[in-house]
Amino acid sequence: MNNSNILKDGNSVEFKTGAWRARTPNHSKDKCKNCMMCVPFCPEACIKQKDNILVGIDLDYCKGCGVCAKVCPFNAIEMKDNNND
């Protein structure tokens, strides 16, 4: 290591932020209309879609902010408090 340059772009995916979550989004496939509204609104860019079909929310990174749940026009995402028993 002789300087502070980072040569692998986008390698922050190696750092999981999911542990930040105090609550977890539950995505219901049948309620979901694949309208794609939640995808660009996720601050972690961790809501995945494939050819406009919502694949799911990557809990390795989701911080439980709840923006997706609030943005979803069809209430297909429900935030549940992590039961930290």
Partner: protein, 320 residues
């Protein structure tokens, strides 16, 4: 071709997961919305001012910047730094050291502190020198990375840690500095003000225009901050919508001096609807402070009328 959310979301995110911004932060959503306007095959160099975005997305040995190169040098010179990168690009391209078919765009991101305050001179200089760069200010209305200290962009009467709501003074004493208008006076080919509104059509189209218009362009983007403003993290879209519907944060653009208001609320809500959702304005709802809300409403209306007037006048001018 007209904006289509379903097509747009297929495009890559250039700010990827693993960054350390607070849960519900408006900045990464804004940044990805802007960078999504890049053509998939285009490259870009992003410069960032020191701030929340920079210290959360580039922490050695990790970077969240993907398919763009990224440079952070200091707090007040994102524009000057990026103008150097753009100049190097012109030099290397002229010498044939860069391939002809690859297009590289130059985009700077700064918070309101890094843009309106400490970085204003560097921004003004780079814009005046007509570098082919786009500057996007993710405006969260205070110095958030250091814990919500007031900036010139902090709204009038907003409570921050250096303009607290107290017995003698009620939050920020001065009205907000309107950098978007200052940028208009730099005679730039394109200036815009946008937010995370509806299905993000407004920010996408403005980012696309800004990035692909030759010459210096500037965007002020409303970037809600749950921690600094005091609202539940899930309300990013709610807060943005209220800011737009109350005309607290009007959506408009200026192309070569011609104003265009890009969204006119069917029913303009009273600014109170926006203010009541955030702790930073809580003190304004005390009985003795009610008149301050009226003052804010007057300021909002004055700016809104100004924009409608400018839209009319500058469009008429254009036709003559």
């Amino acid at each position: 071709m007209p904006y289509n959310l379903k097509e747009v979301v297929k495009k890559q995110n250039r700010l990827v997961s693993g960054h350390r911004m607070c849960a519900g932060c408006g900045a990464p959503v804004t940044i990805n919305a802007v960078l999504r306007a890049l053509k998939e095959e285009d490259n870009a160099v992003v410069a960032a001012a020191t701030g929340c975005l920079e210290v959360s997305t580039c922490i050695y040995p990790y970077t969240s910047w993907k398919n763009v190169s990224f440079i952070h040098s200091a707090f007040e010179c994102a524009s000057a730094t990026l103008s150097g990168v753009e100049t190097a690009y012109n030099s290397l391209k002229k010498q044939g050291k860069l391939s002809k078919d690859k297009e590289t765009k130059f985009i700077a991101f700064g918070g309101d502190g890094g843009t309106l305050d400490i970085g204003l001179q560097s921004l003004s200089g780079a814009m005046e020198r007509r570098h082919n760069i786009t500057y996007v200010c993710y405006d969260n209305g205070a110095y958030m990375n250091t814990g919500t200290q007031r900036s010139s962009s902090t709204p009038h009467f907003a409570d921050t840690t250096t303009s607290p709501a107290g017995k003698v003074t009620q939050g920020k004493v001065q009205p907000r500095k309107d950098l978007t208008e200052i940028m208009v006076k730099h005679n730039l080919p394109y200036v815009a003000q946008t937010a995370l509104f509806g299905n993000l059509k407004d920010i996408y189209e403005k980012a696309e225009k800004a990035i692909y218009t030759d010459g210096p362009t500037y965007i002020s983007a409303f970037s809600p901050c749950p921690r600094g403003w005091g609202y539940p993290t899930e309300d990013l879209a709610v807060i943005s919508k209220l800011a737009v519907e109350t005309c607290f944060w009007p959506l408009y653009e200026i192309e070569n001096g011609v104003y265009k208001v890009t969204y006119k609320p069917a029913k303009k809500l009273p600014v109170e609807e926006f203010l009541k959702t955030q702790k930073r304005f809580k003190h304004l709802f005390k009985e003795e402070n009610k008149d301050l809300i009226d003052e804010i409403q007057k300021e909002v209306d004055k700016k809104w009328d100004y924009l409608l007037m400018m839209e009319e006048v500058t469009n008429k001018q254009k036709e003559d």
